[in-house]
Symmetry: C2
Subunit: 491 residues, 2 copies
Amino acid sequence: MTTPLPKRSSNFSAWYNELVVRADLAENASVRGCMIIKPYGYAIWERLQGFFDKAFKETGHVNAYFPLLIPKSYLSKEADHVEGFAKECAVVTHYRLKMAEDGSGMVVDPAAKLEEELIIRPTSETVIWSTYKNWIQSYRDLPILVNQWCNIVRWEMRTRLFLRTTEFLWQEGHTAHATRAEAEAEALQMLHLYERIIREYMAIPLVKGIKTEHERFAGAETTYTIEALLQDGKALQAGTSHYLGQRFAKAFDVTFTNQDGIRDYAWGTSWGVTTRLMGALIMTHSDDDGLVLPPKIAPIQVVMIPIYKTNTEHDAVVSALSVCQEQLANQGIRVKLDDRDTRKPGYKFAEYEQKGVPIRIALGPNDLKNKTVELARRDTKEKITISLEGLVEQVSYWLEAIQENIYQRALSLQQQHTVCVDDYATFKVLIAGKGGFLLAHWDGTTETEEKIKAETKATIRCIPLDGVEEEGCCIYTGRPSKRRVIFAQAY
Amino acid sequence: MTTPLPKRSSNFSAWYNELVVRADLAENASVRGCMIIKPYGYAIWERLQGFFDKAFKETGHVNAYFPLLIPKSYLSKEADHVEGFAKECAVVTHYRLKMAEDGSGMVVDPAAKLEEELIIRPTSETVIWSTYKNWIQSYRDLPILVNQWCNIVRWEMRTRLFLRTTEFLWQEGHTAHATRAEAEAEALQMLHLYERIIREYMAIPLVKGIKTEHERFAGAETTYTIEALLQDGKALQAGTSHYLGQRFAKAFDVTFTNQDGIRDYAWGTSWGVTTRLMGALIMTHSDDDGLVLPPKIAPIQVVMIPIYKTNTEHDAVVSALSVCQEQLANQGIRVKLDDRDTRKPGYKFAEYEQKGVPIRIALGPNDLKNKTVELARRDTKEKITISLEGLVEQVSYWLEAIQENIYQRALSLQQQHTVCVDDYATFKVLIAGKGGFLLAHWDGTTETEEKIKAETKATIRCIPLDGVEEEGCCIYTGRPSKRRVIFAQAY
């Protein structure tokens, strides 16, 4: 608690790494690239899960569970898919350990070698479509609107807590439909749903768009994406929704008889958000003093800290705070009274500030005398002393105000850093400087995309859905272009 | 839907296997021993999770997430633990596939061999206690009351849907305490909590007890268990709670400074329930016509089926049912109106019977005329026609009555099959016959326990907590014994 966090302006990356640990959100596990999500971090993830899960169910989706382990041969059935996922996967080759013959410890039992290796799921399209084959015979069996909450393993070389970890948690929706139009509408519906939940609850503004062929999910016809812009000017892909066409249905021979009695392949989508969203949350709102949490997802919305010297003062102050606590809890506000006698108020102030609790309430003997209470806002650092009577009203008002304020702050940052660029020299200066979403013309080729990436580390984040048609020239080749795409360096 | 299920009396095992699939709960995956939990089965699991999770939080526990992959060396740190779990585990040895040099398909890349093999968690004590080492310095950091919902892999040779699968879902609680007494109280608290939730919501009567040394969890000082008795007279371990003493603290060097300034090892517990509970649920209540679900965990409590011939009749009947649906839903009842025109009422009746929906409502043109409605109870098969006005009241009454009735039915079956046995000849006859919980004296040795198991397949399910001291002689050796233990054949 004593040394301050690194400053965002001097070392954004160090600030993030340190903050995640200090705010008790997560820590690195001893297994390379894996993380431990600590209770405080997990409580935020649980709240997020709740909002998404409710929205999925309201749109007719149901949850199910498919196996963690996928036969190696499944991965190969969709050509692009294997290309995209085989390179970074955890491979199970044996099913038993035994004591080494020299007694030195446990070793893999060579007699327990699997006939076919199993892959820990890097995503579940293959195992799910191999199952759908048996579930789908007729148009009456469609649509299938299934979601799964689970863990995923991708063998990443460079990892960072929440942003890129070997194992992460996510939800993956996998739907099958009788028509192309229905599948396309589903993929877009889920994109809009993601954007709405993340904006409303996480207070993160997003740009919706389509990935270029080069950035598309391995096995999709169209990949829709939501992109966030973080405080350091870098982009973060916050979720994707894929229109799969009939590709997985063809790879796993999933056909059905339509209403005209004709056999056709089913049309698919898949869509997911991951614990990566926790990284987006932290990097969007937090400041040099620690985490800043939107009230709607904060596990603790209000923390109460008693100020006292004597035992008599303690009892009077805590008793007054308990009354306040009950009043606030009755309004559905998540409030915690921190009555630990092992820590001083100053320590507690710093701790909850670092943990991003939206509102802090302090009450001491003088407040008791004056029937007042001190309130502090985490986002603006504003402090006010008000009459005890007005507490519930003020807290309710502030919780809404904080949610709105941090969204507006993030939106304005995103807008300030979203600029049209028409020449490559300026593009390079901006990307190397303050970053941001650079709206530029592009000739539509993967070749140009890769050259720009190699020279500037900027990738095309998306072709924005709300973009307008406009005549222009590719910033790199000068070839004609019909619309701008968004370039950025990304996490 | 056409062929009936096998009868419980002629082939209980075939009845179970067939029922799980027909009721749309789960199916076998293509990976050996793994299962797919289908949406209807998963909806039941989700409800169960909700009840447990709420109860955990009410008793001060918080959720967190620890890695799926455990370094091989961790398993070896607690001697009994490695003995218990190393024999049946999935081993990750490589982190990449590559195209075979002859282009024939994907093969494991030998260059991507891990330095130390990783085990997919068969339980998480090792990885969690290795983490607690960093979380615990002082008594102020205790207790730690953490729970985790996750997937587990144990390489089982004989598997059965829900009862024993290579991968399963569970929750595992892992707590650390400053005193032995507190840890012992925690282990017992969780046992009682499990028993209460399973009795109240799943309507399953359980016996609480302590496992013998031979049946104890690998690494525990005491294993508490809850045991169910199924319709075929076999027992099923429904959950366990372990008092770990200081064993994992010592294995992972987890020490803290107590209030007297003295360094001590932390005291631990762990406790879990799994998707196995789904098997207990099915085998306790269901009948030859299919699943019977307790209303409190049924995803659909009431299904409504319209009866009609003409379009006009359809519209009138469905419109009347929609009104009923709203009235029931307003009371918090989970009601589904099945208006599919692709299936006849008879088909729907059989389908929901097989799926165990507690109450079925049917309404046709004659009912409309008479302002009546037909209700059928799944548990007793009772059918009544009542005035539409009284619907909500009758349904609410029946939902409670069904919950109570199936619990009493199961309790009375358990009581009928719980018998005191004082000679080994009778013991063998009973075990080979109708089974049940056999209360018998035992001399307390593992040797006798193993001999009885070898001769009768009966194991000691537990030393019941509510057992009384009584003088007796071991049924096998005749040696003196102070209390009866429960023997049964078990799943």
